[in-house]
């Protein structure tokens, strides 16, 4: 019983990390159709932001919260620069965006290596997030609880922003039918930039969160990017609700399989499960009828 509950928590925790990473991707890939392979490197930028901020602010607790904000901005600005310099030239050419952003990702990794060195750097975890709390015999590590809450907060803010603000309405309008939005007086150019800023910024936030559980090294983004794409595709392109369900489902599935088999087998079986699922439901978990032709 304890084991089951522990693994359930583990699954939710893996899911929340996947969700944090996939959330930004769900905006840029799902809604804009840009396959951004450099998303992983925006995550890395967030992690190194946490490292740099911690060099300036020695209190690990304060620096974590400052890093979350600065990390969002750093990721966002990098995204906007990428969008404005390269991606805007290749909308509707998804394969080109894949190649270009893959190249940009490799360059960013090398830049990080040159600035910070190849070995992993250490971002200290704040005192209040070290260790664990035990609830009914289940050990919940505090840093993973924090990430779970952070993921929920991010989803809530993003969903509310898309639903209730005029900016959110513009984004949804452009996604559903770009031409109709344009003739209605919405600048799709400005909306693209805003969307990319938010999506990439969320990658930065995810990067800051990852410093609590893993290593901060130039290749950190590589470990997560494929899983994040899987979540977005399985969830249904551009559907935040779908991404949430897919992330937690994959997390729990992974945790349960891994407990009874091994890490390598779990990875394979989850992959197989996704392939089978997409055969049955190619559009993903959640799909929305739009008036656009795409």
């Amino acid at each position: 019983m304890d084991v089951l509950a522990s693994q359930l928590f583990t699954g939710l925790s893996i899911g929340s990390i996947l969700l944090l990473i996939a959330l930004g991707l769900s905006l840029t890939f799902g809604q804009m159709g840009v396959i951004n392979m450099a998303h992983g490197e925006f995550i890395m930028a967030g992690s190194y932001t946490a490292f740099v901020v911690q060099q300036v602010i020695s209190s690990a607790g304060v620096s974590l919260f400052v890093s979350l904000i600065v990390g969002f901005c750093v990721g966002g600005v990098m995204g906007v620069v990428l969008e404005a310099t390269l991606l805007k030239r290749m909308y509707h050419r998804p394969l080109d965006t894949l190649l270009v952003t893959f190249g940009v990702g490799l360059i960013l990794q090398q830049v990080a290596r040159d600035i910070f060195g190849a070995p992993a750097v250490n971002v200290a975890t704040p005192e209040f997030l070290r260790g664990n709390i035990e609830v009914l015999g289940v050990v919940l590590t505090k840093s993973r609880l924090f990430i779970l809450i952070l993921a929920i907060v991010c989803v809530a803010i993003l969903a509310a922003a898309l639903k209730y603000t005029s900016m959110g309405r513009r984004i949804r309008a452009v996604v559903q039918n770009r031409d109709l939005a344009e003739v209605s007086g919405i600048s799709s150019r400005r909306t693209d930039i805003t969307t990319f800023f938010i999506g990439s910024g969320l990658a930065g936030v995810a990067g800051v969160a990852l410093t609590l559980i893993g290593s901060t090294s130039p290749t950190i983004g590589q470990s997560y990017i494929v899983d994040a794409f899987l979540v977005v595709i399985a969830g249904g392109l551009g559907q935040i609700r779908g991404a949430v369900i897919a992330a937690f489902a994959l997390g729990v599935l992974h945790a349960v399989i891994e407990y009874s088999t091994t890490a390598s087998i779990a990875k394979v079986l989850v992959f197989v499960a996704i392939i089978i699922f997409l055969q049955v439901r190619p559009q993903g978990l959640v799909s929305v009828k739009t008036r656009s032709l795409a």
Binding site: D2, V3, S6, Q7, T10, S13, I14, I17, A118, P119, A120, V121, N122, A124, T125, R130, G131, N132, V139, T141, K142, S143, R144, L212, I213, G214, S215, T216, S217, T219, I220, Q222, S223, A255, E258, Y259, T262, A263, S264, A266, K267
Partner: protein, 416 residues
């Protein structure tokens, strides 16, 4: 469009000439390999050696430091008058963390640069790729990293530990401490799997229970399930053969889950001084490592080595086991060449047995039967400064036994 004959003829001729050239080239190559005639030039004031390490790619983080210590040893030897009166000239090459590149560059160093010996390699995959190149060309490789054993080539000198000089002493130490059960955690590739088969054979013979064995893909960063399994299994200790970044995630998860070095120690065989910084000292302080050398080893030779290294490369650079083994291997080559009074491979091979050197880790001696060296084994505990203090060391250097022939329990292992 008309297709003129010339347009067809020109490329055909080019291809034919190309084929002819490659045929000649490969025949010339085969002849060189068959006679294995060395092109090493010993007539001048200098002698060339190769340094072949990954300066790019995923292994660069570890191997650049090895290259640096090879250079340090060469500079010291040159300042001291060189080898047989000749100055050593290092030809550096980048193996790019890719076994095929290692093999290709090794061939280039031997055939084109005509080096007398090559120092380098890290992963077992890179060594296995280079082995046939050194055997076919009858040249010498000095390989400086601890590895899984079960190998011995007349063309490779192994200056890192084999299993009986690192893993077996670590198991002996755990047993002495009263360990009755173990949990094995490792990365999913050749070294951890071979190491764990040795550990399981030892455990069976020594009444130690193996409560679990888990592998994660290289680079894996989620250890919550494995740590859950480890905690539930309640082993006396964990034997860790994880490599690289995975260690960071593992130790963070381990300490956050409330598992401590006192309650359930982790013994690691591939975390050295330079990795501790990235893991964060607070997450790993008090945990154990098994190596032959630590920066804190208290010998006059080591004090000189550490001081020289820091002076050359910076005060904040720690020294580690593979760096020490690489440094030592250059000196071992020098001693052997001077013993043989020749750079010729056959003479060096014949003279190697019994050659010894006062290394930073303590005196080491080449075993002429298997080309490994004797090494002192040390168990260390990671201290609050990120360095490693020795808590146990063997009574003097241990003879290398790559095929574990002196252990009855290892009978079934030597086959592969």
């Amino acid at each position: 469009m008309r297709l003129s004959r010339r347009m067809v003829a020109a490329p055909t001729a080019l291809v034919a000439i190309g084929l002819l050239l490659t045929a000649c080239g490969s025949r010339a190559g085969d002849e060189a390999a068959a006679s294995a005639e060395s092109c090493v030039d010993t007539s001048g004031d200098t002698i060339k050696v190769g340094s072949l390490n990954s300066l790019s790619g995923t292994m660069a983080i570890s191997e650049v430091t090895v290259r640096d210590s090879i250079r340090l040893a060469v500079e010291e030897i040159n300042a001291d008058g060189g080898v047989l009166g000749k100055q050593i000239q290092v030809v550096g090459e980048d193996g790019a963390s890719d076994p095929a590149t290692f093999a290709e560059k090794a061939e280039k160093l031997i055939r084109q640069d005509c080096v007398a010996a090559v120092f380098g390699g890290w992963t077992s995959a890179s060594r296995k790729a280079m082995l046939p190149v050194f055997e076919d060309n009858n040249s010498l490789l000095y390989y400086p990293v601890q590895y899984e054993g079960l190998e011995a080539s007349p063309n490779i000198f192994y200056s890192g530990a084999t299993t009986n000089q690192q893993i077996v002493p670590a198991l002996d130490y755990l047993k002495e401490q009263g360990t009755e059960s173990l949990y094995l955690v490792g990365s999913d590739y050749v070294f951890p799997r071979t190491a764990n088969s040795v550990i399981k054979a030892y455990a069976e013979a020594n009444d130690i229970e193996i409560l679990g064995e888990d592998y994660t893909p290289l680079g894996s960063t989620d250890f919550s399930t494995i740590v859950n399994k480890v905690r539930t299994a309640g082993a006396d200790a964990v034997f860790n053969t994880l490599n690289g970044d995975s260690n960071v995630a593992f130790f963070r998860e381990y300490s956050n889950a409330g598992l401590t070095a006192e309650a359930m120690p982790v013994v690691s065989v591939s975390i050295a001084e330079e990795e501790v910084g990235g893991i964060g000292v607070q997450n790993i302080e008090g945990q154990l490592t098994a190596w032959n050398y630590y920066q804190t080893v208290d010998t006059p030779e080591n004090q000189a080595f550490v001081a020289a290294y820091k002076e050359r490369y910076g005060d904040n650079k720690p020294t580690s086991d593979p760096m020490e083994a690489a440094y030592t291997s250059v000196y071992l080559w020098k001693e052997t060449v001077e013993q043989a009074e020749s750079f010729d491979v056959a003479d060096v091979q014949a003279a190697a047995g019994g050659v010894s050197f006062a290394a930073p880790e303590g005196t080491v001696t080449i075993n002429g039967d298997n080309n490994h060296i004797t090494k002192t084994s040390r168990i260390g505990v990671i201290n609050g400064d990120g360095l490693i203090d020795t808590v146990w060391e063997s009574d003097g250097p241990i003879d290398p036994d790559p095929y574990l022939e002196s252990y009855d329990w290892a009978d079934g292992l030597s086959g592969n």
